[in-house]
Symmetry: C2
Subunit: 281 residues, 2 copies
């Protein structure tokens, strides 16, 4: 397994592989890899001749008050996990390799980038689309694999690929959960044992909504209220948002048969966790 740190080198490696006729699968990450990430790597491995994983804590997707400086790091552990998954290249650029002092060009989503997480984190998706566009321009992957955990990100990236005519096929893999239901996240590390327990309210509310949707149909307004109450009553927990939206448009417009994304963002202590499930209207 090769570790590459320079943009020039990753581009050259990637082009050389393509000239040999190899397909490239790509998994962009911020490191501190867990089983959720590894399921993406496995998918890329199954689809492609060569697999590149990037590890880059992308500063432009953090706001000044967020956890950029504390974001967990375990480079040795990450490399070991990648090796075990038969990754071909891990790309670990330095910040200066990705952003010059004069950086001023961004890729933005002008519509759904403003909704859900965009309301609390108004510059977050701008950072995500910008770094993913850069990585796509360097690597030109055939496939790029993202997690359904970041549902809004997945939709925004798919829109970016369509709108900017990238050739890369975007693959979305299901959420991977701990045994007790908590969605895997590098940020789970921030939770105290008590918070960790209380954080189960997210997945429990999703389960509850899935059952209610089947049982009573689609009284979204009541369900939304009920879920907000449950979270509000859980110690350490504060609702950021609870939203039922059309999975394609992230709007509140549904017709029967539409996929409904139920997306939650909850502060557990000072840690902001997200989770979601997809229902059928």
């Amino acid at each position: 397994m090769k570790v590459i740190k320079s943009s020039r080198e990753i581009r050259e490696w990637s082009r050389t592989q393509q000239q040999k006729g190899s397909s490239i699968g790509f998994v962009p990450t911020m490191g501190f890899l867990h089983k959720g990430h590894l399921s993406l790597v496995q998918k890329a491995r199954a689809l492609s001749d060569k697999v590149i994983v990037s590890i880059f804590i992308n500063p432009t997707q953090f706001a000044p008050n967020e956890d950029l400086d504390n974001y967990p790091i375990d480079l040795e552990g990450d490399l070991e996990k990648c090796r075990a998954e038969n990754v071909d290249v891990v790309f670990i650029p330095h910040k200066n390799e990705m952003y010059s002092d004069f950086h001023q060009t961004y890729v933005i989503n002008q519509e759904i980038g403003q909704l859900l997480c965009g309301q609390t984190r108004p510059t977050h998706f701008r950072g995500v689309t910008t770094i993913v566009a850069k990585l796509f321009n360097l690597i030109d992957p055939d496939f790029a694999v993202f997690g359904q955990k970041d549902a809004q990100q997945s939709i925004i990236i798919k829109n970016m690929v369509r709108d900017l005519s990238y050739r890369t096929q975007i693959i979305i893999e299901p959420i991977v959960r701990e045994e007790d239901g908590l969605a895997m996240s590098s940020r789970n590390k921030y939770l105290s044992p008590r918070q960790r327990k209380n954080a189960l309210v997210l997945s429990q509310c999703l389960k509850f909504a899935e059952n209610e949707f089947k049982r009573t149909g689609r009284d979204i307004n009541n369900l939304e209220k009920e879920i907000k109450n449950r979270i509000g009553e859980t110690p350490d927990c504060k609702v950021d948002y609870v939203e039922f939206v059309n999975e394609a448009s992230l709007t509140k417009k549904f017709v029967p048969g539409d996929k409904v994304l139920l997306a939650l963002a909850v502060f557990v202590g000072s840690t902001r966790l997200i989770d979601n499930t997809v229902l059928t209207y």
Copy 2:
């Protein structure tokens, strides 16, 4: 010479050429080609194995009150000129081929995109960078050739390539002028004979500034006033802006030896013309 109208086909053509080891030179245009465009095509021809010219009147770079619906078209003439320059492919996508009804992703320059032309045309460069990014993603050219006439555009595109890690080398070719000095522009077609004559004030002011810069040094403030007066006194003409800026940053900060861009935008009747020259501070 091939005429291609579909995104899928231009991408395939381009990839096939690259797999054969051919380099690709690209000249994006809005058509109604004049000698300025053809100088770009000739440069691309000299640099590359294969040359692609795109002709697309890009709606996102026009504001609602601008000339999108009247923009001059001469497709037959354009194809003839491209044939004469040994162009390999002319890419003429339909609007729906480039923008879906759901288009929501844009490439923006957050700094110098707001200056000069960005003040009168706040969404213009967003449209330019978005379409150029799309075309780069479809064609993946080795070289792309732009005109110094659109000086701010050239700098913004160069920044985009650096900031988003495109591999394309950007080449800027000098302004091509009519015999009497008027910079070539598709929009010159809008001018009445009288306006055409009065429009010479742009190139005359640039000449004047070049001479004054050599003669008296760099009294930018006085020169700016003098040029604004000259334009203001010319019938049919109204200053949009007259600015001396650092060619690299488009700011007003100079140290001796810096390149100074003197950029003009002038309404001649209702036609907005731009022109520029580069001086040494």
